[in-house]
Amino acid sequence: MFGISRGFAYFLASFKISLRYKVNVWLQVLGAVILVSIQYFLWKNIGNNNESLLNGIEVNSIMLYVIFSRLLVFIIPGNGTTSFISQKILKGTISVDLLRPVHIQVSALCYEFGKLLFNSIFILVPSILLSILFLDIPVIKVNIDQFLLFGLSFTLSYLIAFQMSFMIGVFSIWFGNVWGVREFYEALLMIFGGSLIPVSLYPTFFQMIAIYSPFQSIYFTPLTWISNIDHFIDHPILVQVCWLFIFSSLNHFLLRYALRRAVIQGG
């Protein structure tokens, strides 16, 4: 299909841009390994000096959870998508994108896919290998069902994060600048998404808010599948599907509004 092949060009472009800056790649792996190490040493220290269950959860499970949450940061859509769209709006080039045969969300998503592939190959895989080599990261038996569910759940969380970042980008129509909104979103993601520590450890009150927020669908839900942590919601994947649907529809309307405004205002 024409649209897809054009989208593929974006994908390749983002991949190539990343390849061009070489030393960076090595430093990124180093950085990722250090991020993993911090969590490893912290939780190892906690595990050595306390009983092995926190709130009924094994310390080893928590360690796996936090390690993977630090790695997910490298591939979950975020800043890239937000500035992709907000720059187009602020510079007024969004009306040009109207004329393109590719839907703007498709090109933004392809750009993210490029980053996903690149960061998986050059950051995730090497840093996971290095971490296993140098740190005795606990291995938890994960059966094939759980692994498949993780795959599905991650795909959904990836798309939700993409839709949310995209939406923040569109917000630039009103705010002129989306740095602040972006910061706000990141903070909510930390608190209610469980990107720092699993939501299961929270006091009940915060747990309740987290459960009903879309943020836990991004980090908490996929990570529970591979770290053997109970996901205390019934049908977590169904909840993810709902959030994805909600944000996609919201974006659909926002984008239509944004385009109309951009066309009226001119470039």
């Binding site: 390849l19 061009r20 070489k22 790649v25 090595w26």
Partner: protein, 333 residues
């Protein structure tokens, strides 16, 4: 007159890590990058006197921006010697910056979110100008350029033309002795362009400011500059007056043939098709080889021709054709 800029046998070579095509080569280059040398300037020499307005022209990538960076001390030449006001610009960069104005494409002196006046006031502090002189001088510049109305507007609200006018005024705020302008008229409409050119001419006449400008717009050159330096493929190709240049290389003539037919008229090989129109073609030929009457005779043999007209060459035409392979012989003369 005082020589203000002296460039002697200057060369500049960039060393660039080459990016590899293909996935695995790309990975390989992560480990061992290939370094490629790129010559930006090759043995270039010229001198510029105080108060001159010099056009520095050539195609993209010819080395124009590199020259400006060398003259302002941003870069160190690979070999050769440069002196500006008798000093090495690289060593005395900050001292020379005090009396130099530079306009570089896409790089703004102005604060995006704030009213224009704030940017100018900030420049006063950066260049450590006396407050009273600054107020008088900036008012003079603003009035000369005619941008009084823009002062209270945020820079991001200005149109491209307004921004360029504001930008050029900002260059002159510190009352520079030498000014380098990289493409000052690019993308401007005719009226704004005229205003900018008048402004530059005025300042040059009144204050003997030395102005060096690079441009693609050769009409600007004909209006503003007496002298031009032409550079192509890192080599200096011409240094002299604009009128001499036209005289020397100007024996080309343009002929415009209008026709009902869709086929390109068949003319001898040394007629070059320079432009195509909806209802005709423009060719260039060498006046020394063909008489006007010969040309008319040739055209008369063609079918469907509706009209023929002759035009004199201008600078852009000459240069455009010089950079063509088939006019290479012009350089050899």
């Amino acid at each position: 007159m005082n020589r203000i800029i002296c460039v002697k046998n200057v060369s500049k070579v960039y060393r660039i890590p080459k990016s590899e095509k293909g996935f695995f080569k790309g990975i390989k280059s992560l480990v061992k990058p290939n370094i490629v040398e790129k010559v930006a300037l090759k043995d270039v020499s010229f001198e510029i006197s105080e108060g001159e307005v010099v056009a520095y022209i050539g195609p993209n990538g010819a080395g124009k921006s590199t020259t400006i960076k060398l003259l302002t001390g941003l870069l160190l030449p690979t070999s050769g010697h440069i002196s500006v006001k008798g000093q090495d610009p690289f060593q005395y960069r900050k001292q020379l910056a005090q009396m130099t104005g530079v306009l570089m494409g896409q790089r703004s002196n102005l604060w995006w979110d704030l009213p224009l006046q704030d940017s100018y006031d900030l420049l006063r502090v950066i260049y450590n100008l006396d407050k009273k002189t600054y107020i008088e001088w900036s008012r003079y510049l603003i009035e000369t350029m005619g941008i009084e109305d823009l002062l209270s507007q945020p820079v991001r609200m200005l149109s491209l033309g307004q921004r360029m006018k504001a930008e050029i005024v900002s260059i002159f705020i510190p009352k520079p002795e030498i000014v380098y302008l990289d493409e000052p008229t690019i993308g401007l409409d005719v009226v704004t362009k005229q205003k900018v050119i008048e402004f530059l001419m005025h300042i040059n006449k009144q204050f003997h400011t030395t102005i060096i400008l690079t441009t693609h717009d050769l009409q600007d050159v004909e209006k503003l500059c007496k002298r031009m330096i032409l550079i192509d493929k890192s080599i200096l190709k011409y240094d002299g007056t604009v009128s001499n240049f036209i005289k020397k290389y100007g024996n080309m003539k343009r002929v415009m043939i209008k026709s009902d037919s869709d086929n390109v008229p068949q003319l001898p090989n040394d007629f070059t098709l320079s432009e195509q129109f909806i209802d005709g073609w423009e060719f260039i030929y060498d006046q020394s080889r063909y008489d006007k009457r010969d040309v008319l005779a040739m055209i008369a043999k063609l079918e469907n021709v509706t009209s023929v007209s002759f035009k004199d060459p201008d600078l852009s035409l000459i240069i455009k054709n010089m950079f063509r392979e088939d006019f290479e012989h012009v350089w050899d003369q």
